[in-house]
């Protein structure tokens, strides 16, 4: 049995269903991300696990114990809030010591553990500062140290990096992973940033409109999305409308395409194809050909937009030290049919 298990968890605010029969689980010691666009119910889910939001229906099990009857203060979870929620009238050390004080841990032991927690987040030199006089990244670390010092069974992080600027965010991602590994704490991170979720986690739980879309490891979620939502939300993807015929053939814009072996029920489908899986060849030898309408240089790669009979397609080419085809050129596009993902058409799922 998994360490944390959500079983058909549902939360309604009046007419709005914020979380809809959501089930997923988190293994002990793992780092799991709950990923979805803003407003999809991530915070609500986290608040229900933390015990600050009532559960409409469903169950939360932690380490074999049903949490529904356990008040928030007895759940023993470490929580980092999006706004950090530091106690502004206390020093960094006092902030970190608070949870230990509540657990009636004696002074010498408290001091020892506060010191260790601050060392873990590399903040020992700022122990006597007040949070007001600190940068966003430093506050973030204080919040982490404060959540970790009580040695929680489970660490909950609500968009902990979203208030940081891009460069600091990348640094803190690495830090967060290091800290989590060193502390060995089971972690559930909420984020709307797909690259953050993929970079940090052992497993990703994708949700939309309160519902589970897919639960898998980052590679699988990216490479084998189950729904067109997942495919579009994680990274760039070409999405083509197509029709699966009764004869088992895939038709897109009146052309027959070779798809991957596995078939699907006949009917409307969607083809997803990652732009980096597409090769640019000369116009005659591609699966399709089209005219380059847009060309963006991204440093390590080029982004081309090509108008093809199948529809507009984007292509990502690694910057191999030479220029690519220019706007107005006619190019051929080709790909390995194994890289096509056939998904239920949007709305049919």
């Amino acid at each position: 049995m998994a360490f944390l298990e959500l079983d058909r968890l549902t939360k309604r605010f009046g007419m709005i269903t914020a979380v809809d029969t959501l089930s997923f689980s988190v293994d002990r010691g793992s780092f799991v991300s709950l990923l979805g666009p803003s407003g999809c119910g991530k915070t609500t889910t986290l608040q229900m696990i933390a015990g600050f939001e009532d559960v409409t229906s469903g169950r939360i099990m932690l380490n074999g114990r049903n949490l529904s009857a356990v008040p928030a203060r007895e759940r023993g979870l470490g929580i980092v809030f999006q706004t950090y929620a530091l106690f502004l009238h206390m020093t960094v050390a006092e902030n970190v010591a608070f949870g230990l004080e509540m657990r009636k841990i004696d002074k010498p032991e408290r001091a020892r553990r506060v010191k260790a927690a601050l060392e873990l987040v590399h903040l020992s030199h700022l122990a006597d500062r007040y949070p007001r006089a600190m940068s966003g990244g430093q506050r973030q670390r204080v919040a982490l140290a404060r959540a970790l010092v009580i040695e929680p069974e489970l660490l909950l992080l609500d968009e902990p990096l979203s208030n940081l600027d891009a460069k600091l965010r990348e640094e803190m991602q690495l830090e967060l992973r290091r800290i989590q590994r060193e502390a060995g704490v089971t972690t559930l991170l909420v984020t709307h940033d797909q690259s953050e979720a993929m970079a940090l986690s052992d497993r990703v739980v994708v949700m939309e409109k309160g519902r589970l879309q897919q639960e898998a490891d980052p590679f699988e979620v990216y490479d084998r999305p189950k729904t067109s939502f997942v495919s579009g939300f994680l990274g760039k993807s070409n999405s083509l409308r197509a029709e699966m015929g009764r004869d088992g053939r895939l038709r897109c814009a009146e052309r027959v395409l070779t798809g991957p072996a596995a078939g699907l029920m006949p009917g409307a489908v969607e083809i997803a194809l990652r732009p980096e899986r597409i090769e640019v060849v000369d116009a005659a030898s591609g699966i399709v050909s089209g005219c380059v309408t847009e060309k963006v240089f991204l440093g390590n790669q080029w982004l081309l937009r090509v108008a093809t009979p199948l529809g507009d397609m984007i292509v990502l080419r690694r910057n191999a030290g030479r220029n690519e085809a220019g706007i107005g050129d006619t190019v051929g596009l080709t790909w390995n049919p194994e890289h096509l993902r056939i998904l239920p058409a949007e709305g049919a799922a």
């Binding site: 600050f52 928030a72 007895e74 023993g76 608070f98 509540m102 404060r146």
Partner: protein, 266 residues
Amino acid sequence: MKHNGPFAVAFLLVFAIFMLAPIVVVIGVAFTPTGFLEFPPSGLSLRWFRAILDNPDFMHAAWVSLKLALVAATVATAFAVPAALAIGRGSFRGREVVQSLLMSPLMIPTVVLGIAFLRFLTVMGLNGTFFGLMLCHTVIVTPFILRLVLASVVGLDKSAERAAISMGASDWTVFRRITLPTILPGVVGGWVLAFITSFDELTVTVFITNPSTTTLPVRLFSYIAQTTDPLVASVSTVAILFTVVLMVVVDRLYGLDRLLIGEGKR
């Protein structure tokens, strides 16, 4: 900071003079060696300050006012803080009604309030008692505290309290260790404002005191009606000095601007 134009400076100067002139005159008059109100004083003497100490009526009234302001401000604070917390973040029915009710003493003309209190205290058999006076002053000063505390409650971050709860803090511990320290500038500011308001209150108090519970403003008021000697000026000077000292202490502790304008952005 932006520089003010000459017109603005002139305006501020006139305004400051207009505000300060009466105070300067009162303080000047208090130091006169003569037996009548004169300004500027013809000499410097502490004669009229000594006269306060020799006047048991004024001493008693000052003592009543001090006690009254202390008790009324403190009792009103004890009511206003939980009320502000409930109004500021609760979403219970009748929230606006409770708030309007508590703020209403500011809206009702003080004379009307005085007559109402007089009737009420008479019916209750509390007229002229210190307890009755205290009740009325508590009602009068509550809006001042409520307004300041409410301002700091609205800016309160709920997640800090949730963080404390998740670490195992009880409701009372959360209030004492997290909520109260966060709204403390508002609470202290409200208390001081309430204290000064009560200490200074005349219009309502006139209706509900008797000789044994006469407050300082009422005593001054009735004294002026009978005699005009520099004693009123020296008593006023002491009261002004007292208020200024209170303000300075609070300023040192919390910063006056923060207290009266409300806390700036974090």
